[in-house]
């Protein structure tokens, strides 16, 4: 089966994501303040960004869970965008943090034409502290 470019991009992303978590790649000199285990990204078709729904609310943010070698289908975990107060950020580009959810979606990568990764720090970033005045 001929591989589309998004299929190979997702395989590459999977390799990099494993590097983040794999025990064998514990660096000797690279120290990190925080461990990350997933790479957040968005997928787009020719004319729009792909959204999936978690508890009825849309999100364009995903992380890769698994790739089925046989069928080429990919399972994505939905990441929910939250604003500073921890509410769902309906304006997805104005999110403060991305929270992992237990919702998944299976896709056929060949339907998409672009993928865009986000910084690792976006996932699980603690909400800012609310400090009331007066």
């Amino acid at each position: 089966m001929e591989q589309c470019s998004i299929c190979s991009a997702l395989q590459e992303l999977q390799r990099e994501q494993e590097l983040l978590t794999c025990q064998h790649t514990q660096f000797r000199f690279i120290k990190r303040l925080k461990d990350y285990d997933c790479i957040p990204f968005t997928l787009s078709t020719a004319n729009r960004r792909f959204h999936a729904f978690h508890k009825g609310k849309p999100t364009p943010f995903f992380s890769l869970q698994s790739i089925d070698e046989e069928t080429g289908c990919v399972v994505l975990t939905l990441l929910e965008p939250l604003d500073m107060e921890g509410n769902h950020a309906f304006l997805a580009d104005q999110f403060f943090t991305l929270r992992k959810t237990d919702s998944c979606v299976t896709i056929v990568p060949c339907c998409f034409c672009s993928i865009e990764a986000l910084p690792l720090e976006c996932v699980g970033r603690p909400l800012p502290i609310r400090e009331q005045k007066g």
Partner: protein, 398 residues
């Protein structure tokens, strides 16, 4: 073209209000500044027709003044509302614009040790000593240590032990070896800002504002109130003290402010500054008494009679917002709701998303304020605090 030259300004406060005021009075404001942040945003400073971005040395300032005269500007006054240029501006104003400002007295006020010595006989000083030389000062703890040119509480520390004194002293001298250091006995009591305008030797108290001072090693003002705060007796005594200070320093024509404490031994002088107070003071006096003091000061320094008659009498309270957290400021909510509360005059945020914030160690680390008015200080304060409770800061700790 009649112009007024201003030496240095600030992003927020009386020094900025004065630029706008000079325009209202029909003068062309010309600003000389050392701050790149002001020079590159020259368009936002729309009230200023000309901005010179120069090193503020006397020689450079004189060059610009000479240049302006050659260009045909008629200079009405040279004014500064920013330390340490106030007395220099007054001196140049007297020389270039034939004004009659008390430049020497203003110069005295710029140096805290000189002020203390000049007022030694009036009984308004705390016990103090110049500890630049002396190792065994005569002052007992708790005490206040400050550099002779401190401003905005930046170089002022409250010390309780010899160790704290040594630490504070190191902080003051580590950057500038030749700093003159003053150690003063700490005086218990409420603290007030007293705005004074002296014209032809006659002092006039424009406003008295009580300050809520938090003291955790540093003195930070977190609230200001104007209104019914002094009894008649306290006010009369204050007037007497101010009169004596004005006499001792031979102040003829000047606008300045004193920071006074009302202690069990009467009024004591904390600080004397040669300009009107910054931050929200101009706005507060305007809301309380209908006097735009920055404008009247410009009018006065430009040679006209200032209008210092109260057009109304209201109590005004300003609550200053600080934070207890260290981190990155991510945002705020409740500003609009807060501003819409009854009696609230103004709500300002002085920080933007992405800025690093922390507990206030200087007056510059107050990140906004809520100002409210009312028939009494108590009511104004209650309204300001009530409105402030609607405001929430979002801070990402680092």
């Amino acid at each position: 073209m009649t112009s007024i030259v201003f030496i240095e300004s600030v992003q927020f406060g009386a020094a900025k209000d004065a630029l706008e005021a000079s325009k209202q009075l029909g003068y062309t404001p010309i600003l000389l500044t050392e701050k790149r942040s002001i020079a590159i945003h020259a368009l936002e400073w729309g009230s200023t027709d000309l901005i010179y971005h120069i090193d503020l040395t006397e020689t450079r300032i004189r060059d610009v003044l000479d240049h302006l005269r050659k260009e045909g500007h008629h200079l009405q006054a040279v004014i500064s509302f920013v330390d340490p240029y106030v007395s220099l501006a007054a001196r140049l104003s007297n020389e270039y614009c034939q004004t009659d400002l008390s430049a020497d007295a203003l110069g005295y006020m710029e140096n805290k040790i000189h002020t203390r010595h000049a007022l030694a006989s009036l009984g308004v000083n705390p016990i103090f000593s110049d500890i630049t030389e002396e190792l065994q000062p005569a002052v007992s703890f708790p005490a206040v240590i400050k550099s002779s040119f401190s401003k905005g509480s930046r170089d002022v520390y409250y010390v309780r032990t010899a160790e704290e004194l040594a630490t504070a002293r190191y902080k003051l001298t580590s950057r500038h070896k030749d700093t003159v250091i003053l150690l003063e006995a700490y005086m218990e009591g409420s603290q007030y800002i007293v705005e004074v305008v002296v014209r032809d030797n006659l002092p006039h108290i424009v406003a008295v504002a009580e300050q809520d001072v938090t003291n955790e090693g540093k003195f930070i003002v977190t609230g200001y109130s104007i209104g019914n705060i002094l009894t008649k007796k306290e006010y009369d005594e204050l007037l007497k003290v101010v009169g004596k200070i004005v006499g001792s320093l031979h102040i003829t024509n000047a606008a300045f402010h004193l920071e006074m404490r009302l202690t069990s031994q009467g009024w004591k002088l904390i600080e004397l500054n040669p300009r009107m107070a910054g931050f929200t003071m101009n706005q507060m006096i305007d809301k309380a008494y209908g006097i735009n003091l920055a404008k009247e000061t410009v009018r006065f320094y430009a040679g006209q009679a200032p209008n210092l008659t109260n057009s109304k009498e209201r109590a005004v309270y300003t609550y200053c917002m600080t934070t207890e957290l260290y981190g990155i400021f991510q945002g705020v909510s409740g500003i609009e709701e807060s501003a819409a509360q009854p009696g609230v005059v103004s709500v300002e945020l002085l920080v933007k998303a992405g800025d690093i914030v922390g507990p206030a160690m200087s007056m510059g680390q107050r990140y906004g304020y809520v100002m409210a008015s009312g028939d009494s200080v108590e009511l104004a304060r209650e309204r300001a605090m009530e409105a402030a409770r609607l405001i929430v800061f979002y801070i990402e700790e680092i």
